[in-house]
Symmetry: C2
Subunit: 147 residues, 2 copies
DNA sequence: ATGAGTTGTATCTGTCTTTGTTACAACAAG
DNA sequence: CTTGTTGTAACAAAGACAGATACAACTCAT
C-alpha cells in the first residue's frame, strides 16, 4: 500500500501558498487548479493542515496562509497532519495470532520493536526535510525557466 | 495508508517454518492456524515468497521450507516480495499537476529526490533486520516461557 | 492405480479507503 | 444583500484487502 497522494498534494499546496502569496488570493479553487484535483479535495486537506496548526484559512473572505516559518514545518508534520492512520502505526499487524502457538503467542512482542525501528528511521528522515527546502528548490527551478 | 498485514504475516510464517521444521509438516493449513487467517491467504503469500526465491513449497506432498540461510533474508526482501506496489514507490504522487503553473510544472522534480531519501531511509533500516533476528528473539521468549 | 492430502488458482463477497462530485448552509466583506 | 468563499455532508466509482468456497493438478503411500 502506498502513502496517499494527500501527502504530496499537501506539500504542493504549501509551495503554492508561499510562491504566490501577495500576488494571488490562495483560494481552494486556485490551489485546485495548480494541483489539478477537485477543490473539495483541497479543502479537506486544508482542514487537516489547519487542525494541525500549520496553516490558517480565512472563512468567508477566502484564502489560506502558512502559520509558521517555513523551516519549522517538516515533512513529518505534514505527514502526521494528513495521514490519518490509526495510532500512527505504519505497519498493519495481523490482529489475532494464535495464542496457543508458541510463535503466535510471541510474534507481537518480537516484531513490535523491530517495526518501530523501521518507522522511526523513516520519520527521522522526514523530520530532516522542511517546506523551506521545497520552496527553495521550486524557486530555483522557476528562476531557471524564466531565463 | 498502512503497509498491509501481508508483511507481518510473511515474517510470522518464516518464524513458524524455522521454529517447527522437523517437528511438523509446514502446510498452509498449519501455518494458517498459527497466524489465524484463512489458508488461502497463507498460500497466496507463500507464492509471493517463492517467486522471490525466499522459500520453496512442495506441491502435492505439501510443506514449505526456507531457501536461504536466515541471516540472508532481510525485512526488505520480504517487504519487496509481498508488497506489490507499482515500481516500488512508497509515495503515491498526484498524477496531473498543472503544467501551466510554475509550481505544478516543477513539483515533481522538486519532490522526487526528497521522497526517495525518505524511502531509502526506511529501506536501509529494513535491510538491517533479518529473519535470523526474529527467530532468535522468538526462541528466547519461548525458552523463557518453558521454565 | 487409486485414494488421501496438499498446492495453485480462480471466483465471488464484503469491507474499507481514497478520490471525485454535487450540493448547500455558514460566513465575511464590499 | 449580493457575491465569493469555506466547511461539510452525502453519494458514487474505483481499487486494495482479506475471507471464503471450489476444484484441477500434483505427490506419494499403499
Amino acid at each position: 500500500m502506498q502513502i496517499s497522494s494527500r501527502f504530496t498534494i499537501a506539500i504542493h499546496v504549501f509551495a503554492c501558498i508561499d510562491v504566490f502569496k501577495g500576488d494571488y488570493k490562495l483560494t481552494s479553487d486556485f490551489l485546485a487548479s495548480s494541483v489539478n484535483v477537485n477543490s473539495v479535495v483541497i479543502r479537506r486537506i486544508l482542514q487537516q493542515l489547519k487542525a494541525a496548526g500549520l496553516i490558517t484559512v480565512a472563512r468567508g473572505s477566502g484564502g489560506a496562509s502558512i502559520a509558521k516559518s517555513l523551516d519549522e514545518i517538516t515533512f513529518l508534520d505534514v505527514y502526521n497532519a494528513v495521514e490519518c492512520v490509526e495510532e500512527g502505526e505504519l505497519f498493519h499487524f495481523h490482529e489475532n495470532p494464535n495464542p496457543n502457538c508458541p510463535v503466535g503467542r510471541n510474534i507481537h512482542r518480537v516484531l513490535d520493536e523491530k517495526l518501530m525501528r523501521v518507522q522511526n528511521a523513516m520519520e527521522a528522515e522526514m523530520q530532516k526535510i522542511t517546506i523551506a527546502d521545497v520552496v527553495e528548490d521550486t524557486q530555483r527551478y522557476i528562476q531557471e525557466q524564466v531565463k
